[in-house]
Amino acid sequence: MDQELIDAQITMKFDDMTVLEDLQFKVHRNEFLVLVGPTGCGKTTLARLLGGLLKPTRGHVNIGGEQVNPKIHNISFVFQEPSCIPWRTLWDDIYMGLEIKGVDPKTSEARTREVIKLVGLDGFEAYFPKQISGGMKQRVAIARAYATKPDFLLMDEPFGHLDAQTRYLMQIEIMKIWESEKKTVAYITNNIEEAVYLATRIIVLSRLPASIKAEHHIRLARPRNLTSPDFLKLRKEIAQQCEIVE
């Protein structure tokens, strides 16, 4: 069960600025790992490194023992920014990953239909991004990421742009999706409540240059109660580690 999928050991510098200093951690199969850290601690850089969109200055990100490469490995990425392609309908947008991976049309169509249902967007297939709300756009991004049945799913503050209410609803939603189709997830956020609500394991990152400050295995029963004493205790502890005084 505790089989490791990702082995990361990263140092990342941009010119003279060290963003990540010998950051080492592993991601295990089917775990929901949340990396939480204060704003501006290089979280997006870390996400891009894990997804193979950036190469580390020193060290490595390995997936199943090989250097991570989206051309070879089945990885999906949910971006922080709204990432719907404006000229594609929802259907075509969600279909994109399957198109790139060269999956045959019949399987792709069946799978697209399946994930559209999974994120509750059935009936909106022919809509353009301009016609839908922010929460729906993030559902599209999640569906698109799920469509290719990724071995590793990366989510970089996927709900960062949403209002508090939509964000909360989306957290419930993502948990439902994850529980119905288990994936190995690395989820990056600066929101501690979100981290404790979603994670099976939390890694707390420090300020720049980011390193690991703490690690928590979250064993609270799901669905988690945001106001239970255990939840609040964890939340407070992590907030202190994040140097956010609550």
Binding site: L53, I72, S76, S83, W87, G97, I100, P129, S133
Partner: protein, 266 residues
């Protein structure tokens, strides 16, 4: 569906108001020329008569106005097409590889600032007939199309490129499925600008170029005879053709870029 119905009625109302505005304009023009009784301010009717004469009997050299229109339009389209064929791919290339643009800037930019009209004397010496005009129009239309495309490529939203990249898409896929569709609206705008400049250039080129066919020459012939009616006919015809071509562009844009026009539901 309800929206398009609404849009249809909206268009009809717009057309109605435009017809009304046009009517008022012609009435004012007629009133003005009637009151002034000046030879230099012909009435709309004499201008219309001049147009009909040019269309039936031709100009002073017996060349029909349709021939002038045909010549000018053909020259425009040849030059414009050449400008698109060269400017769009080159713009995409230089947008994708800023190195190429940066290292050729010292050639591209100064040439860009030489007005096409300044090329006319050289072109008259070096080229003959049709190619003269096509070249000048190409020159005028090329730079707005090329620069417009180049800038559009630079403004592609990085996250739209990251999405296919995160799935391991090849470079060609990203160019075909992201860069081109995303820059297409701006390329269209650039083409419209290029077309407008093409008309600027053709007039100048035809007036200096020394052939006897083309709207520019036609206007010049009547300027020498101080015949205001025919001059106005020439100008109005150019305006009308420009308007017509622009409407075609807009029509195509509405069709192709439906995703931009779409109405939000929230």
């Amino acid at each position: 569906m309800a929206n398009s119905e609404n849009g249809g009625r909206g268009t009809l109302v717009t057309v109605g108001y435009n017809a009304l505005a046009l009517g008022i304009f012609i009435l004012l023009w007629a009133a003005l020329s009637w009151i002034s009784e000046s030879l230099f301010l012909p009435t709309p009717w004499t201008v219309l008569q001049a147009f009909l004469d040019l269309a039936t009997y031709g100009d002073v050299e017996g060349i029909n106005i349709w021939m002038h229109i045909f010549r000018s339009t053909l020259r425009i389209f040849a030059g414009f097409l050449a400008a698109c064929v060269l400017g769009i791919p080159l713009g995409i290339l230089m947008g994708l590889y800023p190195r190429v643009y940066d290292s050729t800037k010292s050639i591209v930019e100064p040439v860009r600032f030489i007005p096409p009209v300044a090329w006319i004397p050289l072109v008259i010496v070096l080229l003959v007939g049709f190619s003269r005009y096509a070249f000048i129009i190409w020159l005028g239309a090329f730079f707005p199309i090329f620069i417009g495309t180049l800038l559009a490529v630079k403004q592609v939203n990085p996250v739209h490129i990251d999405v296919p990249r995160s799935f391991g898409a090849k470079r060609m896929y990203i160019i075909r499925k992201i860069v081109i569709p995303s820059t297409l609206p701006d390329i269209f705008t650039a083409m419209r600008v290029g077309m407008g400049i093409g008309w600027d250039c053709i007039m100048a080129a035809e007036m200096i170029g020394g052939e006897n066919e083309g709207l520019g020459v036609m206007i010049l012939k009547y300027a020498e005879l101080i015949r205001i009616e025919e001059i106005i006919v020439g100008m109005l015809v150019i305006g009308a053709i420009g308007f017509f071509i622009n409407e075609i562009f807009i029509f195509i844009e509405r069709r192709v870029f439906k995703w931009k026009e779409a109405v939000a539901i929230d």
